[in-house]
Amino acid sequence: MLDADFFRRWMTATAASVHREADRLTALDSPIGDADHGSNLQRGFTAVTAALEKEETDTPGAVLVLAGRQLISTVGGASGPLYGTLLRRTGKALGDAAEVSEAEFAEALRAGVDAVMQLGGAAPGDKTMIDALVPAVAALGDGFGAAGTAAERGAEATTPLQARKGRASYLGERSIGHQDPGATSSALLIAALGEAGGK
């Protein structure tokens, strides 16, 4: 079972890897974007960890709703509302249970990813974070490790795609050949589950 502490560790682990990989994310956002994805997420997850230290959150749902709200209020850009919605909606789906099973979490994350697709209008293959998140959700039944691998593969698989959503779409065919920064950060988010969970 996963408790509030697990979700706090998830957020902390994500923050750590976002800080570590910020330059890489910004570099990926340069040829097909506006070179801010790394600093956007750094700002956001710094706020998330600060908020989780300051505010009491005793359920998994509360942790993720608070984290999502922080992202919405501090990131801006496309990724702020999208990642914010992902965490908020996942959190809301978890309700106010003190502990949730991995299956319940997988279900909730699917709801979160659906909300992101609805908000941003992106489908798999559009070269966005969705391309890492959708395979991750599908693989979550096989554990965090499998989800991490699936997200990572999904991110890598964005390279040959032509972007149809977000800034990269303005480039038309010139977006081909570059890995999507948002899919890359989504892979970091999913990989952090393994670091948080021990499983």
């Binding site: 910004t26 801010d36 990131v75 801006g76 509302p81 010139r174």
Partner: protein, 330 residues
């Protein structure tokens, strides 16, 4: 790349502090990142709020003041502001007559303004929205995030600002703003990439002897790279792209806009070529504005925006305006 900054993390806050010092006629809330007209909210009048990533100055903060925006929300460099900022701005300028959000069409801006609109309506503020999407370089909008908002933003903010200051109702201010956007088209070129403080190096490589055609205003590369062209050739290409998309029947406003590092000397020379092409195509020019208005940090390059106007839009364009970035008649 060298910059005149302290550290990348504080550029937006530092700029707002400097803006506050230079413009006592504005209320600059540095902590919450909102720039507001001193006299807002104005009784019975519609509030006009815009915003977007920083790095495009004077857009938007420099267009706050009588006759133009009521408030602006600057985000991080090239990053849409967050909903909290727009909500705060809306609350500060709402007199009960409602607030128009002027949103450049980028995924981030649209999502954040939409969230803010929901929150504002929860607080009982009536919100209307206009989306600016004038950049003809983005084609196939079925397969993209749609046309970007660029130079036409200035026309929308100025003309809607005049309508709001006259006391026109929200619905009418919104429809004027839409009319301006629908009648505007832009095309931009880059001679160099720009450098964001966070990255510290140019956002893309542009070798000597080449230029990017069809760029946006966020340092992103354009649709196409070509061998360097003369000012006259660039004017031919850019004006053609604009006019082919919207052949104007009425006189037009022209904005010959520098991307930030192009000297005014070159911009005026470019304007001469733009006017030549417009004349050749039989387009009547009502007004021309030349300068660095909708910029991309230190990018060298220029964009051309053309806005077809009827008598009413022209009257609103000519109405007095007094902002740091655009001022006449008062």
């Amino acid at each position: 790349m060298k910059m005149l900054i302290n550290v990348p993390e504080t550029v937006v806050a530092d700029a707002l502090r400097g803006m506050a010092a230079a413009h006592p006629e504005l209320t600059v809330d540095v902590e919450n990142r909102v720039v507001v007209r001193r006299d807002a909210p104005m009784a019975g009048k519609v509030g006009l709020v815009s915003g977007g990533g920083s790095g495009h100055e004077p857009l938007h903060g420099g267009f706050v003041g009588p006759g133009m925006l009521s408030a602006a929300c600057p985000g991080e460099v090239f990053t849409s502001p967050v909903p909290d900022q727009m909500l705060r701005a809306a609350a500060a300028v709402n007199s009960g007559a409602g607030v128009l959000f002027i949103v450049k069409n980028y995924t981030g801006d649209v999502l954040n303004f939409d969230m803010a609109a929901e929150l504002a309506e929860d607080e009982g503020i009536e919100i209307a929205k206009v989306l600016v999407n004038d950049d003809v370089a983005v084609t196939d909008s079925l397969y993209t995030a749609g046309r970007r908002g660029t130079g036409a933003t200035l026309f929308v903010e100025k003309i809607a600002g005049a309508a709001a200051d006259e006391g026109q109702p929200l619905e009418r201010v919104q429809s004027v703003a839409r009319q301006v956007n629908e009648n505007s088209r832009s095309f931009g070129v880059a001679l160099s990439a720009c450098t964001t403080p966070a990255k510290g190096s140019p956002t893309f490589d542009l070798p000597a002897g080449e230029l990017e055609l069809g760029i946006g205003i966020h340092g992103e590369p354009g649709r196409e790279r070509r061998a360097m062209m003369t000012s006259g050739e660039i004017a031919d290409f850019a004006v053609q792209a604009v006019l082919d998309d919207l052949p104007p029947r009425n006189p037009v406003l022209v904005l010959v806009n520098g991307m930030g590092a192009t000297p005014l000397l070159e911009l005026y020379g470019f304007n001469a070529e733009v006017q030549r092409v417009l004349t050749q195509r039989g387009v009547a020019v009502a007004r021309t504005l030349v300068g660095n208005y909708v910029t991309s940090l230190d990018m060298a390059g220029a964009s051309v925006t053309v806005c077809q106007v009827d008598e009413e839009l022209l009257r609103l364009w000519d109405a007095p305006v007094s902002t740091p970035g655009l001022r006449w008649g008062m």
